[in-house]
Symmetry: C2
Subunit: 239 residues, 2 copies
């Protein structure tokens, strides 16, 4: 649909959707039948496009539908992995599910980090750098989690955008619960501190792109751990 | 900074930032000195890169800094326009500024529309379609604004992501104030209804990409009106 042409806006692109639906159903069938198992990678976009006789954009849309339904996860530059044979129920984090957080955080925290690089005050910067140092020093896991959450909130505050700040405040309790669970279950403390330092360094330098890249990398790592834990749970259920 | 290499993460890319800073300062000077006036378009990225002897990515970063500071606005495919000689104070919308809304809404409402296309229930769809019809029928401007806001909230709810729903609920009053102001000041009712129909049609069809494109187009139109009003205000101040 060409949205610049008001005459055609709203006309359903029937053929393309039909093709997407066809590819999606085939892939879902292959996954539920165990042809591709949990933990395995799907063929490349190019290979799937050739197999189904459709364009790569049709394959890409079908893969996005699978991801939204919770059966696959796409890692940029690596591929699309099966993480569940059926959509899964969510762990509850203070009213938000793990998928809610993994799905929504990049859309909010990546642009917020970019804006923070240009808008942070000296006071914001001191606060961020103080949290980085204090997290490195503490022996108390609960205190670490509290400061992890505070750091993410402080970055949103430094963005100067009150919508982003409001979102992070609303999900603060959920972030803390997820941070605690990730640090219990996996060895995330040191990598996490390293990633936080990169984010704050980019914000200190005033580089929008570096700050966004550093936050994207951090949230991708968080996502990987969340998805790995979920696929392990599923493999356990299948045994 | 190559974030996949943990040895180099956090090392400041000094040269590139120096170049960005150089380009930004030159452009800000040109704008404050009136070499490029409010309402005028800056030269293309390629022309600026050639003039300053830097790469286009350096120019792009410098232009993003100008936009974040509120002196320029970039319209995709059209160019970067000067909208103010200095950063401006914001109109207040229920605790959020016009910039807060214009800046944050696309990051939240575009992915929410995409998810809604895949996750909406039949009940969600009936609610959305009912609002579209009811907005077309009403003669009461306040009722139209209330339903405009309700439609955006209902799309977030249909996304099934509770973070997006929470954000839209938090900014509901601000959205209503902005919607009212846009409809008072400019002839946005009919185009807005057309854009809403495209969004809901894409959600009904289940197409993630079409729903995102339709929401992006709608929010771009809103942004254009907000920026035009702001640059008019500025031209008035400069007279």
């Amino acid at each position: 649909m060409n949205l610049s042409d008001s005459q055609t806006a709203g006309v359903p692109p029937v053929n393309r959707l039909g093709a997407t639906e066809y590819v999606r159903q085939n892939l879902e069938h292959a996954i539920s039948a165990g042809v591709v198992k949990v933990g395995q990678r799907l063929p490349s976009e190019a290979a799937l496009a050739a197999r189904f006789g459709v364009s790569r954009s049709v394959v890409r849309e079908a893969l996005r539908v699978l991801e939204v339904r919770g059966t696959t996860a796409t890692r940029v530059g690596v591929g699309t992995f099966v993480i569940a044979t059926e959509p899964v129920s969510q762990v509850d984090f203070a009213g938000f599910g793990a998928t809610d957080l993994v799905e929504a955080r990049p859309h909010i925290e990546i642009p917020a980090a970019g804006l923070a690089a240009v808008r942070r005050s000296e006071h914001d910067l001191e606060h961020l750098q103080g949290l980085i140092e204090s997290m490195q020093r503490t022996d108390d896991p609960d205190e670490w989690v509290r400061q992890d959450t505070e750091l993410h909130l402080a970055i949103a505050e430094a963005s100067g955008n009150r919508v982003f700040t409001t979102v992070l405040r609303s999900i603060k309790a959920a972030l803390a619960l997820q941070s605690g669970q990730l640090n219990d279950g996996s060895n995330r403390r040191l990598p996490s501190e390293h990633e936080h330092r990169s984010i704050v360094a980019a914000i200190a330098q005033g580089s929008i792109t570096e700050a966004e890249d550093a936050m994207r990398f951090h949230l991708d790592q968080v996502k990987d751990v969340v998805l790995t834990e979920r696929s392990n749970t599923h493999e356990g259920e299948n045994r």
